[in-house]
Amino acid sequence: MSLDASVAVRRGPLDVQLDLAVADGEVLAVLGPNGAGKSTLLRVLAGLLPPEDGRVVVDGTEVWDDVGQGRHLPAHERRLGMVFQDGLLFPHLSVADNVAFGLRSRGVPRTPARTAALGWLDRVGLAGLGDRRPGQLSGGQAQRAALARALVGDPALLLLDEPLSALDARTRLTVRAELRRHLADFGGSTVLVTHDPVDAMALADRVVVVEEGRIAQAGTPADVSRHPRTDYVARLVGLALLPGTGAGTTVRLDGGGAVAVAEETVGPVFIAVRPESVALYLDPPHGSPRNVWPARLVSATPHGSTVRCELDGEVQLIADVTAAAFAELGLAPGSAVWAAVKASEVAVYAR
């Protein structure tokens, strides 16, 4: 269940030309600013907007769009599930009927459709809420129900359009963690559109950064944040995201090493470190409670007035230092440095 898409479409002044390939079980994040053409891409993949040129092929043989051949499969004939920004649960149907909607459309009789819907509500943690109206759900619950509705038909392609951006910060953390689990279980291809680099880092296997309708950069989340090719990407995706296990105010990293954090946590977490909060020293710094690691400078790329430094060592980090500081330290690839991060500047997310 793979996706191969090459899409050209014009929306007002925006000229979108994007090529994507997503493998089975893979999650591709399309990251970019508002108006970059991300949602347009998703509408084309969904069949809601016919492309002006290009092909969309699923599983290698199932042609959904082929402008050259004049083929356009309408949205309702595509095996896909889509989650929209603000859930968009049908307000006139119960939550269970919302989830069962896709099965009913595809001819599944009422009773098995309802059984499957209730099963999915259970899986997304909404057991017992099937008879509620969407208006009676919280934002996080509505988005979980929307996910269940998209996944219930076992689609080949799952499209997520800013699925977390309408949620408040606290809810976003928990829903993101759940979404991650469901995506891991999902066998089809997933395309996630987001403008939040944390979503992309936490959820995606690969990231495509889109600017003004074109792919600015593509790669694994770690790749893209380590080697940003444009200033925009550098600003957008600089943060290092490291998996670990919380134990009080310490997080033991899966890759080895430990990080002191300000908040107490327990269980699997991500820690996120912004490159501007990493300071570099030639000698071990003393004083305030900090995370200090020895590291080796792998590469240094100037971006505007800062230099992005990729560090290798016990903990893999990215540091943005000013060009002046970089020169003063006399750093060159291969240099041994000490990297320091204040505990208060390490963000912790439940995984």
Binding site: R43, P74, H76, F84, F90, L93, S105, L159
Partner: protein, 266 residues
Amino acid sequence: MSRREAGVPVPLMVPAALAVAFLVLPLIGLVVRTPWADLPDHLTQPAVGVALRLSLVSATAATALSLLLGVPLAWVLARSRIRGRAVLRALVTVPLVLPPVVGGVALFLVLGRQGLVGRWLDETFGLTIPFTTTAVVIAETFVAMPFLVISVEGALRAADARFEDVAATLGAGRWSTFRRVTLPLVAPGIAAGAVLCWARALGEFGATITFAGNFPGTTQTMPLAVYLALQRDPEAAIVLSLVLLAVSLATLLLLRDRWLGRSVAT
């Protein structure tokens, strides 16, 4: 806020008060002049019952016909991208501004025995429409359907079309989406439009008398009966008017929920 409400400027206040008086006084006059003592006698006259029943039946039939044809038309106007949609909308709203008598004449020219379609109907099926109850329903539909179309089209435009995209991604074709998503979403707008349409059909006079005539029992609806009674028996006319006023007020009460109550929420 309260300071603003208290200070209605005189140049606005006086005409506004006059407008209220102008609109309400005739209704008060109607109620005042009603021969309340003879009311039961008048109301139980068989002619009143016949006219009222004919009015209710034909207005309801006209509303049903308007729903059947008008809701799909509203959908086409609001959702489809066919060419000449603006022209179509203008054409549809013509009956709103057309004097109903002219509508009646036009219907007669098309559906009358010598009319464009009427002659064919007469020769092929032996069907004659003018001066029948069918003609009443057609005249009322002609005049009232635009109210429904405009109202439903507005509701469709106000409804979030993204729900229809959601339905498509869930495997629902356009017809299925219309039935299972669009229709339920705009149901309140359809209901409001139907009530408006029904009220307009109930009060129809000009097109009806021109196209369907004024035959008690088959084409004499309440407004026609009122007009006729006024020339012979003014008291009866007042009573009949009162009945229509009562029906209109009931309609307004039905609409109140939507227009004065929840309209902001949707």
